[in-house]
């Protein structure tokens, strides 16, 4: 075919290289995980204007403590939990700023204005509902519904049982359904 398949280096290998002093390995991990982490944080209420800062902060903290990463969950999932903590730290400084308002520039300009407005309302409503959930309920719901993670992975990352993860998810769905109707 003339096309060489590029070998995908596992996260665990990149972590080992970083711990051995290879900064390029850390940069590669950032390239891999910054965008999914950012999406996860936005759904949890991170404001656009601080999103990159929070992503950077979470990744910095992750690398600082990566030697303690045990591999019970994937690096991605572990990073999401660190991102949640970084977001929680930011929230302390925002005081009353619980929910981020949608701003006009985040809407897709190519979409139909009426459907875009409806989608924007639904997104905003859901974000408000997520903000009202208990933290574990919110994290389990977003990890499951947005990131598509298995309960075993979620449970390992959040250091809870799989049964507890399922219960948190169930309660989150129940509360969000009630909130949306």
């Amino acid at each position: 075919m003339g096309v060489l398949a590029e070998a995908v280096v596992a996260d665990s290998e990149l972590i080992a290289r970083y711990l051995a002093g290879d900064e390029g390995a850390a940069a590669e991990l950032v390239r891999r995980h910054a965008e999914p982490l950012a999406r996860f944080l936005v759904v949890q209420g991170a404001p656009d204007d601080e999103l990159e800062d929070i992503v950077q902060d979470a990744l910095f903290k992750a690398f600082r403590s990566v030697s303690r990463f045990r591999g019970g969950a994937s690096f991605r999932t572990w990073l999401l939990t660190i991102g949640s903590n970084a977001l929680k730290d930011r929230r302390r400084t925002w005081k009353r700023r619980q929910v981020v308002e949608l701003t006009p520039d985040v809407a897709d300009p190519s979409a139909d204005p009426a459907s875009e407005a409806e989608a924007g309302w639904a997104a905003q409503r859901l974000m408000e509902g997520l903000g009202k959930l208990a933290r574990l309920q919110r994290e389990v719901f977003v990890m499951r519904a947005q990131q598509g993670l298995e309960y075993a992975e979620i449970a390992a990352a959040l250091e809870i049982s799989q049964v507890a993860a399922r219960v948190h998810y169930h309660h989150a769905v129940k509360r969000l359904k009630a909130w949306m109707t």
Binding site: V30, F60, A119
Partner: protein
Amino acid sequence: MDDLNEVPQELRTALDALEARASRAAGRVDAERVAAGVLERLRTEPVVEVPARRWTWTGLRVAAAVVLLVGAALVVRHNAARPPADVGLALPIVSDSLNSDQAEATLQAVGQLRANDTTTTTSTVLVDDLTESELRALLQAMQSTTEGS
């Protein structure tokens, strides 16, 4: 496992809309700039040793329990007319915050403090009021519970 079927439709629509918004916002995050920033911070910011929080919390809990128990015990001793049930008021606090090993070590420490106590007549005892030997006994109890937990 079908993830899509796990999210009710009324939530799926809203989640899709929110995900679209999240994707647009995440698309504005510059991964190269983030990587450069992270590496710069890793190079320049000093590594801060995290204190042994668990030991500190355990120690604080044991110390608080000791102060409560010693205070309660001395109050009871100086007020014979008071019904013994008052002592029990402090016990739920202890049982809620300590595991069985910690509670046992705490009670032993209190027993030792009471055995040594021949002159104290005040009804309130703080850590500052303890003598050197009493403090040593307290620290010993805290260390043994920390090592055991």
